[in-house]
């Protein structure tokens, strides 16, 4: 009974975080992007500086008619948003935000494997949507998503492998327990590769070729309206939260900070995640979209060699200190 309650509470907390943090990131994106462009952003919804804008958006989406195109593969079409969204919820369960037992949804021993495997599933949602929509733009978007996934999953895995090598474990709390501050300069290249590849996997600008609105409308999501479309958007922002959280845990030392690691570890995790989320928004505002060939070139000629070099460096240092 007590165990069941414990599990229920943990799941509810993770679910609430899963619903709240992406909205916070989305609202921050509205505001930060606006101010970076000299605008104010939403100012009306909710009264104070438009804080409830995304709530209002959600209400609007919920009111819209749910349309499935006549030629679409109905079942797959309707299932795709869930496939896109749920993996991020599952990943969120295993990300530790503090050192104690209570600060993680569920400790998984093969944490990195679990996380990377499940995050890869999220991209399947876009593929399903693109294929099932019976729309050439959707199909193009889906194929671009597939190409991008192929290109960027590899450097992401390699960079994560470097950290696992350094820590000697694939468990996320285990990696954090082994963390020292000098891992930061040691793994900095891997961190950059991981973060950039993660951005590409989320199809965030400047890697938003699969949803390039000036070319293929909205890629795989072209035919979606209403709540299903909202779920795809939510998946994107949940993805930002998950990516930033993972980068924090793997490369930035998670709950470790200059002080207060015992009681306030979770504050450090959240703070680092928030800064990374800001960087994600910042990159979106600053850079234009990469062309499809530039996108592939960056992955295969820059990120993968860098990731391999990082693994070599990690191996050398690891041998040298042991």
């Amino acid at each position: 009974m007590n165990d069941a309650l414990d599990v229920a509470v943990r799941l509810v907390v993770v679910f609430v975080v899963f619903l709240v943090l992406p909205l916070v990131v989305g609202q921050t994106e509205h505001k930060v992007m606006a101010h970076m462009q000299g605008r104010l952003g939403p100012m009306y919804a909710g009264g104070f500086h438009g804080w409830a804008q995304l709530v209002a958006d959600g209400v609007k989406f919920a009111q819209k008619e749910d349309i499935v195109p006549a030629a679409a593969d109905r079942r797959i079409f309707q299932l795709a948003p869930a496939v896109a969204l749920l993996p991020y919820l599952l990943v969120l369960v295993v990300i530790p935000i503090g050192p104690s037992e209570g600060a993680v949804g569920q400790v998984v021993d093969a944490g990195i494997f679990f996380v990377l495997a499940v995050m890869g599933v999220g991209v399947l949602g876009s593929l399903m949507a693109g294929w099932a929509s019976a729309n050439k733009f959707s199909l193009l978007g889906g194929l671009r998503t597939a190409a991008q996934l192929l290109a960027y999953e590899l450097p992401m895995l390699l960079a994560a492998a470097s950290v696992a090598m350094a820590a000697g474990t694939v468990s996320l709390p285990g990696i954090l327990n082994a963390f020292h501050w000098w891992w930061l300069p040691w793994q900095i290249v891997g961190a950059l590769v991981f973060f950039v590849a993660g951005l590409a996997e989320l199809q965030r600008p400047p890697f938003d070729m699969p949803v390039a609105d000036s070319e293929i409308i909205f890629g795989a999501y072209t035919e979606y309206t209403g709540l299903r479309f909202a779920l795809f958007l939510l998946a994107e922002y949940a993805g930002i939260v998950v990516l930033c959280g993972l980068t924090t845990v793997l490369f930035l030392g998670g709950w470790h900070g200059p002080w207060g690691a015992d009681g306030l570890g979770w504050v450090w995790t959240l703070l680092k995640t928030a800064v990374l989320a800001f960087v994600v928004i910042w990159l979106r505002v600053s850079y234009p979209r990469l062309r499809e060939d530039q996108l592939q070139k960056l992955a295969w000629t820059t990120l993968i060699p860098l990731a391999l070099a990082q693994i070599a460096l990690t191996g050398i240092v690891k041998v040298a200190i042991s």
Binding site: V32, A34, H35, M36, Q37, G38, R39, L40, M43, W282, L283, V285, S286, Y287
Partner: protein, 255 residues
């Protein structure tokens, strides 16, 4: 393109990316340019062209505005009235009475030619701009509405620093300067005459007996003293009334 540029420092890889990030970050810390219009009224520049006001007391129905209007959006109706002679044996006068004055703001292109051309200052720009209507016919503002706009006409803005002064003021100043010069010349002449008279009186006093010294100057000064005031009063008689008018006229009109 880069070849044509003079040799520069070797570019650090990624410096352009960093520059891009710096631009957006700097913009974020600056004040936004969003105008929150319905909540905050815009600060309009002076001489803003919002709507045209009619000061109908000044209108003589000369029709110049209606004729000059490039898109014919001014409608004027009038009739002629005969005014009986003001004095016995005088002649009857006729004058135009304004019946209708309307501006169709759905046609108006806000060129301001009607205001420029009005010889009697009956039309003015008002900065009011919130008079959108749902029916296009209501954009034809009749004379009572044009009259209402008149109350929103602001005072003309002050001249720019270093601007050329208005022609009326310049003309008035020129006249006043001329007058002042004439007065000064006259006063100098009078003073010279007075001095000459005083010298003459003194000479007479010297020639007269020593004990009469105290009475001598007073008697001699008595005729000379009135000349001081009377000298200026001669010219001030005609100039007194005419002097203020050129000065106060343009100033009164300007304020």
């Amino acid at each position: 393109m880069s070849e044509s540029l003079p040799p520069t420092r070797p570019r650090i890889p990624g410096s352009g990316l960093a520059k891009g990030l710096a631009v957006t970050l700097r913009t974020m810390t600056k004040k936004t340019v969003t105008a929150q219009y319905p909540d905050v009224q815009p600060e309009l520049p002076p001489r803003s062209r919002g709507v045209i006001g009619l000061f109908e007391e000044n209108c003589t129905v000369c029709m110049l505005c209606a004729r000059e209007c490039p898109d014919w959006c001014i409608y004027i109706d009038s009739h002629k009235e005969t005014v009986p002679a003001a004095v016995e044996g005088g002649r009857e006068r006729s004058r135009n009475v304004l019946d209708r004055f309307a501006i169709d703001f759905s046609l108006c292109m806000y060129c301001g030619i009607c205001i420029e051309v009005c010889p009697f200052d009956a039309l003015f720009w008002s900065p009011e701009f919130e008079y959108a209507e749902t029916d296009i016919h209501e954009l034809t503002h009749e004379r009572d509405k044009l009259r209402e706009w008149m109350w929103t006409v602001p005072a003309p803005p002050a001249l720019d620093p270093g601007a050329e002064e208005p022609k009326e003021v310049a003309a008035a100043r020129k006249a006043a300067d001329k007058l002042a010069a004439a007065q000064a010349a006259e006063a100098a002449e009078a003073a010279a005459a007075q001095q000459a008279a005083a010298e003459q009186a003194a000479a007479q006093a010297d020639q007269a007996a020593g004990p009469a010294e105290a009475a001598g100057p007073s008697e001699g000064a008595a005729p000379s003293n009135p000349t001081g005031p009377t000298g200026p009063t001669g010219p001030t008689g005609p100039t007194g009334p005419s002097d203020p008018t050129p000065n106060s006229g343009p100033e009164g009109g300007q304020s």
